[in-house]
């Protein structure tokens, strides 16, 4: 029997998701289903813990208890650790404490429920609020009055966790992928060998593919202002510039990042999505093997780093 990809699709984290495992024989099917179930359970667990749209989540409890130590799930501690590291490495261009600014801008509920109210200025908000972690005690604390949003890293983090859960459930897993709304985590090799093929959606032409990437074990994420728009006339977007506290004025229409894992890919994509092209070029250069495809609102897309593009083939004119 030829290798196959066993895939399940579902909705989670407010978006379309998929998990898939490679099988090599019919006997692998049961193991694949077990691995996919483990991955979906982990995605559900991450959503329950990390969402800011459910008052019962650990993240909401942490934000409500700002200034105090709060016992939280180990997943939230790990996600916060990754977010704090990302803030430091990005020199504040990625900041998980932008939530008050995000809410002031109008992104105060899920996209399905958003209303077109004008943006406000966040009062008394400053970027870089302190986040303290007690990993042994599984506790966290945010500075008084501060609040955390993991929207720029949470899906990538969840994809990595889900992929790890797949591998733990099936030790001989030949290959697998987790797709959380376009934030992707890959392991092993796809059916037929070679590299995983990833279509990069064209933000300027809905439904079209801009480019194709081929990756091994890696993370891929896309961030942009092409979809998550809101407010009167859909004039606002969700990418807050921590330097101003307002939706970023600069930055590309969308940016796709290939990194060592999906957590890294997502926060890098978030940081690059509010960067000028020169800043993005410097950023990618600082974090090899990071690579990116930057799509400006106008003009040709720009490749930064060693992006694993699948080369286009020229169709013979005489065909």
């Amino acid at each position: 029997m030829a290798a196959r990809l066993v895939e399940q699709q579902f909705r989670a984290m407010g978006t379309a998701c998929a998990v898939a495992a490679v099988t090599r024989t019919t006997a692998d099917h049961a193991s694949a289903l077990r691995a996919l179930a483990a991955a979906r359970a982990e995605v559900d667990a991450c959503e329950r813990v990390l969402t800011r749209f459910d008052e019962r989540s650990d993240l909401c409890r942490l934000n409500r208890g700002s200034g105090s130590w709060v016992e939280v799930d180990a997943r939230l501690v790990a996600a916060l650790r990754a977010a704090v590291l990302a803030r430091r490495l990005s020199a504040g261009r990625f900041d998980p404490t932008v939530l008050p600014a995000l809410v002031a801008a109008g992104y105060d509920r899920t996209f399905d429920e958003l209303e077109g109210r004008p943006a406000r200025q966040p009062t008394g908000w400053r970027a870089g609020a302190a986040i303290s972690l007690d990993e042994d005690g599984s506790r966290a604390r945010v500075a008084p009055g501060a609040a955390v949003d993991l929207g720029g890293i949470g899906k990538g983090f969840g994809a990595v966790r889900a992929l790890d859960a797949m591998r733990a459930a099936w030790r001989d897993l030949p290959g697998g992928l987790v797709d959380l709304g376009g934030d992707l985590a890959f392991f092993g090799v796809p059916p037929g060998g070679g590299r995983w093929r990833i279509a990069v959606a064209d933000p300027r032409s809905p439904g079209a593919t801009l480019a194709t990437l081929g990756v091994g074990p890696a993370g891929v994420a896309t961030s942009g202002r092409d979809r998550r728009r809101f407010g009167p006339g859909r004039a606002l977007h969700h990418l807050i510039d921590p330097a101003t506290g307002a939706p970023a004025a600069q930055g590309p229409l969308a940016v796709t990042v290939v990194a060592r894992d999906a957590t890294e890919a997502e926060w890098h994509a978030t940081a690059l999505s509010i960067s000028t092209l020169a800043e993005a070029r410097d950023h990618v250069r600082r974090f090899p093997p990071l690579a990116a495809l930057v799509v400006p609102a106008e003009g040709a897309p720009v490749v930064l780093g060693d992006l694993p593009l699948v080369p286009n083939v020229r169709i013979p004119a005489a065909a």
Binding site: T15, P190, G194, A201, T212, V220
Partner: protein, 89 residues
């Protein structure tokens, strides 16, 4: 008589093998990423049939439905679909 018993045992062994195979075979696989053929318009305007290998995943700004089609030639090299217009030439 020995040959009769050998024949009976062979039949039973075959039946057992079929039963094992039927037991281990899953009820049905979900559709995998498969290869199919589509018609694309070449730069010269002519139509050509190419193998299309679906990508394993699409990356995009979430939320939203994903991506378009990728055309992959038999040598495994990919191109974007220029247009797919079967029956319209």
């Amino acid at each position: 008589m020995r040959r009769v018993w050998a024949a009976v045992l062979s039949v039973w062994a075959l039946l057992a093998l079929v039963a094992v195979l039927a037991w281990t075979r899953p009820a049905g696989f979900p559709p995998a990423a498969t290869t199919k053929t589509v018609v694309v318009r070449t730069p010269s305007g002519a139509l050509r049939t190419v193998l299309v290998q679906a990508p394993h995943a699409t990356t995009q700004t979430s939320p939203g439905a994903g991506g378009g089609q990728l055309a992959v030639a038999p040598n495994g090299v990919a191109t974007q679909l220029v247009s797919a217009v079967p029956g319209n030439n």
